[in-house]
Symmetry: C2
Subunit: 376 residues, 2 copies
């Protein structure tokens, strides 16, 4: 039961630092910076004349201004900060709140114009943490796109052959590299009206560096980490899924590695429910990994083991609150989070299994389902 009474008078920079919050607040996005001011319940945009058409079509009672409609003098148009001061004064405000990510130069411009500026420390829109039905629909659509792309990747790997050097090759004889597989994934996402710039297709020890996107030949008998996180071009909401697969047979150690991650993920998913904290879920996974003999720490100068947090919120940002980590607080119904334990060791490779779920009264439910076979 969120209330929006007594809204703070707030300035946000759209198309820049606060783009996501502005999109959340009024639905408007633009490639170049623009200004959003909330005065009580009123919503105001200061945009370029070029954006007027799109902005007026927004509806929702958003009032649109331009430097012309505000009659700003030449000098008062020279920077975004001066324009912001013009709008704020036009609205009769002497004081305004900004977000912590507001550009410091803009704040200085406001202060120079005689306005008092307060930097908000609490979340601008705490209601962003809990997704409504419309948001869940958008998140589900993006997650479904991610799953379709994942299944396409599975098919490519399943249909590949193994050459004499143990590399995966396609039916036409060319190598099935990380790049080729990533392209196939991207095409599926493109057709679902999504962008996905940083998809990970990392084979063998490349997968031990969780931010390595992967490059070059893929090999049988090596783990392939597939981490797919598309953003809908239409809604702006993200999906996020990771699977780890192998062509051929895992070694006994690799098998134990996979089973340990899979079991940890299953347990964590069964733990998710309102009131349970992200910290509890994360700590339990850590305990299980240690109990299974999988230690975490610097080995040969490289972080190995379970080297990241268990999960994060997903919404208009790919990484947003709440956190499923040592800092994670109690979960609430309607929050959307990932559960993505992983184990990474040089020699074994990386294994990560990730799903995105919505917290329900009873526990949680998948935004979209995708199988978890390790061997293709």
């Amino acid at each position: 039961m969120k209330t929006s009474k007594n809204r703070t008078n707030l300035l946000l920079v759209g198309g820049g630092a606060d783009a996501v919050n502005v999109r959340y607040a009024c639905g408007f996005t633009a490639p170049d910076p623009f200004l959003y001011v909330q005065r009580g319940e009123e919503k105001h945009l200061l945009i370029s004349m070029l954006e007027l058409g799109r902005a007026k079509a927004l509806g929702g009672g958003v009032k649109c201004h331009t430097v012309d409609s505000l009659n700003l003098k030449a000098n008062a148009r020279k920077s975004l900060g001066k324009q912001a001061a013009g709008l704020i004064k036009h609205l009769g405000l002497k004081q305004i709140s900004v977000s912590p990510v507001c550009p410091v130069g803009l704040v200085k411009d406001l202060e120079k114009a005689g306005l008092r500026v307060r930097v908000m420390r609490r979340p601008l829109f705490p209601e962003r943490l809990v997704k409504n039905d419309r948001e869940i629909r958008h998140l589900r659509a993006s997650q479904r796109a991610a799953v379709s792309a994942m299944k396409a990747a599975f098919t490519c790997i399943r249909e590949s052959e193994i050459d004499k050097k143990n590399r995966l090759v396609q039916a036409d004889g060319s190598l099935l590299t990380s790049e080729v597989l990533r392209r196939k994934i991207e095409r599926v996402l493109l057709d679902a009206d999504c962008v996905a710039e940083e998809i990970i297709v990392a084979g063998g020890d490349q997968g031990v560096d969780p931010h390595e996107r992967g490059h070059g030949a893929l090999y049988a008998g090596k783990w392939i980490v597939l981490d797919i996180f598309p953003q809908s071009k239409v809604s702006g909401y993200w999906g996020d899924i990771t699977r780890t697969v192998m062509k051929g047979r895992p070694s006994p150690d690799q098998k134990r590695q996979y089973q340990t991650v899979l079991k940890a993920q299953k347990n964590a998913l069964s733990q998710v429910k309102p009131g349970v904290t992200g910290k509890e879920i994360h700590d339990e996974i850590c305990r299980q990994f240690v109990a299974a003999g999988f230690e975490t720490g610097m080995i040969d100068g490289v972080p190995q083991g379970f080297i990241h947090s268990t999960g994060h919120g997903v919404g208009l940002e790919i990484h947003e609150a709440p956190s499923v980590s040592p800092m994670g607080g109690p979960l609430e119904v309607g929050q959307v989070i990932t559960i993505e334990p992983g184990l990474y060791y040089k020699g074994l490779g990386g294994v990560r299994i990730e799903d995105t779920v919505v917290v329900t009264e009873q526990g949680c439910s998948f935004l979209a389902r995708c199988g978890k076979e390790a061997c293709l």
Copy 2:
């Protein structure tokens, strides 16, 4: 002859506000925020343990730190600002400069930690304005991708048929809509390892709103504005090109509209050379349009005529300095700019013709060439 002596001690937020400048300074990019500090000639990164592998591979003498390697206490890790303060103190600095887009909350954290913070007003890296050979190569590659995609779009329109309602249809009988054509363009760009999220395929009066991406059926006898601006996923550099085409025959007024824009663009391109100002080029186009009887202003509450600036710099940002507009200063050899006059009228539709050129000693040269036939 740029000198990098007496570099300011500088803090920038990578993966966020200053992402482009950090990429320029040290080549590193990441999806989540990280910190970059320049102490004299030294370059320092403070990154998550997960990024260490990629960051160490950077070379160029960039020093990599993590909260662990800096031995930051739990409290000093809690925000990016506190981490920044930790790094700056570790480097023995008491004062630091930040960019105008530095998050104000981070600046407050630095000040709370006893550091003096100066907000830079002059450009952080003025050398970004003039592109070196490596940068020109990257820009050329992105522009070539844009031209390939443009030619693919031409082919689709040329091969389309016209149905009884005057709409463009494909060989299989389905409509050639803005969405379908955009998808085809995106596929070409994807195959060239580029992203392009905001491609414009706007037919008829949709093209009068220069930021309308376009939707629905395309019609014979109506202008179709095709504005393609891809960013290379590999280099980060952009390309930018616009063509306006028509299936069928333009009316006499549309023909004059097109010829006037084409002539203005040609003249402007022939004006580009070192020392000429962006303002001179822009003003000349305005004069020509008025002389040809094409007025600019609010008509029926909608901005019409020549309603945007003539051009902008292109580099690691799609819109960067220098400006070819009433604010535009003198051009320099090695600057890369667009020249994109346009005329927009309800009823006639929008016409914009844009090329991206590099300023040379003698004038300018195209980054890539693309024909300018109006009728397909």
